[in-house]
Symmetry: C2
């Protein structure tokens, strides 16, 4: 069995890398804070006797040999990056839960058949550099390495530059470090487990998601001297579009539709806004419904622009189709939870995860634990000591079960 | 008569202090660029034999003695600060037009009865530091000096700090440098003169204006995993409010209602926005209608917040009542335009101006010239060589007429 206190201590210790006054974490991908937690993680894995290697997009792999090292490793992992006002568990639990599982195995002196591996994927969040799951995507062949390097944050700084700067552009070719399966432990980030008082979510898949960028162009003008009827107000246009996009979500439940980021130009109190940039996130478990949501969105944007005499540019920058996880891994998770006596519930993930891309190249699944009020991407994100421990225990059980089979 | 070429050259020369690639100016109040144009202005005035003094909020006064120096000076002026993406004429024409009038008088060796003065008022735009017309407001006793010093930009830097940093916190007590009247030349910033093919706007007053700040608080959450019906989306709330505020303008024409500035938190593509700050600008020539607009705004904001389960904080940060200018100065402007043969039109100003506050402590009026398409607070703001010259000529004529009377 794992040591829940040691896991909790690791969570709290690493939470200081980017810790915010409100108790959350701001550890944007390949920032200085991300470098610190990566250094810490590398040192811990090496202290356990693992060999740590880094690929050219900064994905980190820590391997402990098994009895039969001609077998590919069994991987566990997630991501250590966070949102600008993120919590202490999203992603981190999956990496540190894996570390705890590895530590428990080392403590026991247990020898697995296959080698075991812990992975930290670069830029899962997609907040600093869009899209999300970028470097697990490169691993899975969804994106090229150059595409990943070229992704720029809102200040124009690229992921490639930043990887070099923090010293995590590794030498290993992306995707060359194969594994036979991957288990990702994560907080649910939604309200279902808590509402139904289940400890473990057995994750059967991930919903489809699509991201878009919209630029609305009007004409900046004086707020006092420009008559209402002569305006080309880009922010009024964006506002109407945001309302319409929200309505698309409401019209396609359980789908979701969101605008998370908006930038207004020139953003001055007495200037009618001349240009607005915003991003759109549409998701649905069913790709055919997601197609309908996309169609509704693509129709309403130019319609509103026309109503308000605005120009608009719109493009889809990301499409991550709905994913189904591997039945045999799901079975190991269910077995692992039963073994530990935790009530489970099968569920699809609303959030995207590295596992969604990895599922294209290796059998993959996930384990969810509850979080308070379903709240995530929020500094108040909270998963209890016991829930974290339960997740790591089920991760260990599932991996050992898979190794035995 | 004035020298329109010299005026144009001065406009183009100073446009390089903060000049933008798109041909506009970014010269925010008491920035490094503002310091440069202030230094230039001071040097030019001194070269003309004027005595330049600076008050403790950075207002600049350049005085040329008259025959009778027991008379208070006749002032001409405006502001040299601009919007973040401002044009080359808003404010600048009023200061450099005054400089050109002064230069013409010096060239002629003409001696006025009263001393003449050029003024550059600090922070007219209100873009970096709200509200607008801040330091003419201190001069007029509307605001205290401490209030002005304490105003902070969006990075939390105060006007007081910045005045000290650029060396323009003068030693003169604000308001001690009296003048008997002020004429402010300005571009119209609206479409009327152009539409009616008039060269000079005889400005009879300024409409009432009120500024507000709104903070909408929801709960940041995951865009993928948070069901639509459980969200507290602060940006959807702000969007609905922006639309409602725009409608208040449309419902009270010729009133105007605008949201110019918006800041979204945490502003990440996959986070349901947790908090939005935005600003509101309501204006109407009639204070009783403006009261109604304010009432409509104050009712709709909490109503929308409630609909969407959001919290909202709202406060009025500025109220500048409608102003009527002085009949005798207006008459001098009309006379000056007739003398030069320019067709005029009486009009109220939609924009706020330093003259609106100065009118509380001295007889004041303004002279408007057209601008292309009525466009202002835009890098494409454009007033022709001839129109600039016409404005400066009427300014000179009006001032000399006032001096004669
Ligand atoms: N798990 C998680 O928060 N991932 C971020 C990617 C997304 O779902 O937007
Ligand atoms: N004239 C001008 O643009 N003033 C700025 C103040 C305002 O009207 O908002």
């Amino acid at each position: 069995t794992i040591n829940p206190q040691r896991l909790w201590d690791a969570l709290m210790e690493t939470a200081k890398y980017g810790g915010t006054p409100k108790g959350g974490i701001k550890r944007l991908t390949v920032s200085d804070e991300d470098k610190k937690v990566r250094d810490w993680f590398k040192a811990q894995c090496e202290a356990l006797g693992c060999k740590v290697s880094i690929d050219s997009v900064g994905n980190m792999f820590a391997v402990r040999p098994g009895k039969n090292n001609t077998l590919q490793p069994i991987a566990m992992g997630s991501h250590l990056d966070t949102q600008p006002t993120g919590g202490k568990f999203d992603g981190v639990l999956g990496v540190l839960g894996a570390l705890e599982a590895m530590r428990s195995i080392v403590d026991l002196g247990y020898e697995t058949n296959a080698p075991l591996m812990i992975v930290n994927w670069t830029n899962e969040e997609g907040s600093r550099f869009a899209p999300a799951m970028l470097c697990s995507g490169v691993y899975a062949g969804v994106f090229t390495e150059d595409y990943a390097y070229s992704r720029a944050d809102r200040d124009g700084i690229t992921l490639g530059e930043e990887l070099t700067r923090i010293g995590y552009k590794g030498t290993e070719k992306v995707g060359s470090h194969k594994f036979q399966a991957m288990f990702e432990l994560h907080i649910e980030q939604g309200p279902i487990l808590e509402a139904e008082e289940k400890v473990i979510g057995v994750v059967t898949g991930v919903q489809g998601m699509r991201w878009y960028e919209v630029t609305v162009k009007g004409q900046s003008a004086h707020t006092g001297a420009t008559p209402m009827l002569l305006r080309k107000n880009a922010l009024v246009g964006a506002a109407r579009m945001i309302e319409a996009i929200n309505q698309i979500g409401l019209d396609h439940l359980p789908g979701v539709a969101s605008v998370g980021l908006i930038e207004n130009q020139p953003n001055s109190r007495n200037v009618v806004p001349g240009e607005v940039f915003f991003t759109v996130d549409l998701r649905h478990p069913d790709e055919t419904v997601l197609d309908k949501m996309e169609k509704a969105y693509q129709e309403v944007i130019p319609k509103i622009a026309k109503e308000l005499k605005l120009e608009v540019e719109e493009k889809r920058i990301w499409k991550s189709p709905a994913v189904k996880f591997a039945a045999d891994l799901i079975d190991c998770v269910r077995h692992g939870a039963d073994q530990a006596g935790f009530p489970t519930r099968d569920m699809a993930s609303g959030a995207g995860h590295d596992a969604a891309y990895i599922a294209r190249v290796a059998p993959t699944t996930m384990i969810f634990v509850p979080c308070l009020g379903g709240l995530s991407h929020n500094e108040e994100e909270s998963t209890t000591f016991d829930e974290c421990g339960a997740g790591a225990q089920v991760l260990l059980n599932a991996v050992l079960e898979y190794d035995r089979r």
